[in-house]
């Protein structure tokens, strides 16, 4: 479990995060939802230690991360896997080497054969068993995301952070990436935090959702509760999606929306 307590972050005189307090639960897909410029990515960077909060604390399973000794922070970081918005694959390494890299660096006791087996397992898990020798420049956006996920889970991470995993992907690939993250989270009991502004992700995989607006946490709850939330900013955000509007209409008036992926949206 990750606990964020009263986190403030300013860039110069501009407040970005204004006292965020929330909890990300173990074994669940925790979504941080909000429009552009609401501080989602800044919050994520504060949690993983790329930015230091001005005020507040972040705790990983009871161990304080912010302002703790560098050795303890390093130990926590070794349990973190992260999927970046642009995948952040190392250009000079092929897919296999990218996935192997954290194992080489973080688990020096692992033999070469064990590493190879683990990499092959992770690549197979994300459906890229035949792409090991490809360079990142030869991959599509969706494949890069998959490699990013494989690299993140390779060292058996406890916490998985995904910064807008659907950005730049077509809707079908987005759903597949969402499903992959969801499956991995529940399969390995990982605490997953996903930054998104995609309502499809909320409907598909949002076990627990935190809504940010202008640096404030305005709401948190489950995907079943979100459609009936009584927060105007959240309502505006949700119902800007025509798909969600249609789903809500179906829910109220009856009928079914069928898709080739995911569960059909069934009305009363």
């Amino acid at each position: 479990m990750i606990e964020v307590h009263n986190v403030h972050k300013n860039f110069g005189d501009t407040p970005i995060l204004r006292g965020i307090t929330c909890t990300f639960e173990t074994g669940k897909c925790n979504l941080v939802l909000g429009g552009s410029g609401t501080g989602k990515s800044v919050l994520l960077k504060c949690i993983v230690g790329l930015l230091k909060p001005d005020i507040g604390s972040i705790t990983f399973d009871g161990t304080i991360f912010t302002n703790n000794k560098i050795e303890i922070r390093q130990e926590i970081r070794k349990q973190i896997g992260m999927l970046f918005q642009a995948s952040a694959l190392f250009d000079s390494m092929n897919v296999f080497e990218n996935v192997e890299f954290p194992l080489q660096m973080l688990t020096p006791d692992m033999s070469k054969e064990e590493r190879r087996d683990r990499v092959e397992f992770c690549l197979k898990r994300v459906g890229l068993e035949n792409a090991g020798l490809k360079m990142p420049s030869e991959l599509s956006g969706g494949m890069k995301k998959r490699v990013g996920i494989a690299r993140a889970i390779a060292p058996n991470c406890t916490y998985l952070f995904c910064d807008e995993p659907n950005s730049g992907l077509d809707p079908l690939t987005s759903i597949k990436i969402d499903e992959l993250i969801y499956e991995i989270t529940h399969e390995y009991g990982i605490t997953t935090v996903i930054i998104t502004h995609d309502m499809n992700s909320v409907v598909e995989i949002g076990d627990h959702i935190v809504f940010l607006h202008k640096g404030l946490k305005l709401w948190d709850g489950t995907k079943d509760e979100i459609l009936n939330a009584q927060v105007p900013e959240l309502k505006d955000f949700i119902f800007s999606s025509s798909l969600v509007r249609a789903a809500k209409k179906v829910e109220q008036e009856g009928g079914t929306i069928e898709t080739s992926v995911g569960e059909p949206i069934q009305g009363e």
């Binding site: 230690g49 970081r77 970046f84 952040a88 250009d91």
Partner: protein, 243 residues
């Protein structure tokens, strides 16, 4: 200015704390040394040979006094090459080639979040990315300077003898005259200092790139400019203190 210098010193300090495993750093250093060294041999060779040739021809052009022996041309080519041209011009050429490569590479890694990815994994990115580059430069710059010395003197020999400015015998006599071994040591000290300045300044500029592709280009340009200025200032300080 003071703030930037302070940030530069902290940046250098950060690669010495929480160092990665020796084996990892050694392998990375060898990779960087090969990349910096092998890739620069061609340009260094061309520049050094022609500078030696031009130096020889121009000294011959100016030495018209019949009382001055022609062997002096060889002597002057050697002294200029060892003391100044080989270490300084080679380092300036490398500032352009290696410096821009280091700044551009790290700048691209920064804006594509590859450096963030290393940090999130708990890897000290300065130790992993910057330390091997600086060490690789410190290993290869002196070797390239030695190569430049040899080729520059050889270039002078070919230009002098083929143009008829002096005979091979006179050139070799001048090359061997009043040789001071310390000058070689001085040149190698300069090359090590310049290697450190070029690689660390370029790495610093690249590492703290913010923005996009345009800023990566700007970082590379700044890295080269600042490296060349640092080389020239360092050249004066070293000459003043060590000679």
């Amino acid at each position: 200015m003071v703030k930037v210098f302070g940030q530069y010193l902290l940046f250098l300090q950060s690669m010495l704390v929480r160092k990665e495993r020796v084996r990892v750093l050694w392998n990375r250093t060898l990779d960087e040394a090969v990349s910096i060294g092998i890739d620069s041999v061609f340009i260094v060779s061309i520049v050094a040979a022609f500078i030696g040739a031009v130096t020889c021809v121009q000294i011959a052009y100016n030495l018209t006094n019949p009382l001055i022996p022609k062997a002096t041309i060889g002597f002057m080519v050697r002294e200029m090459t060892i003391l100044e041209l080989a270490p300084t011009i080679t380092s300036i050429v490398l500032a352009g080639k290696v410096g821009s490569s280091i700044a551009g590479g790290l700048g691209t890694m920064r804006i594509t979040e590859q450096i963030d990815a290393l940090e999130v994994m708990g890897i000290n990115s300065t130790s992993y990315l910057v330390f091997p580059r600086i060490l690789g430069a410190i290993i290869t710059f002196p070797l390239l300077v030695i190569l430049a010395m040899v080729l520059s003197i050889l270039g002078g020999y070919l230009a002098g003898t083929l143009s008829g400015a002096l005979s091979a015998q006179e050139y070799i006599e001048g090359i061997r005259d009043a040789f001071i071994p310390y000058n070689i040591t001085f040149a190698l000290i300069k090359s090590v200092v310049f290697a450190f300045l070029v690689s660390s300044i370029s790495a610093y500029r690249g590492f703290f790139t913010e923005g996009g592709a345009l800023e990566v280009g700007a970082s590379s340009t700044t890295a080269v400019t600042h490296s060349i200025i640092a080389i020239l200032v360092g050249d004066f300080v070293l000459a003043y203190t060590l000679l």
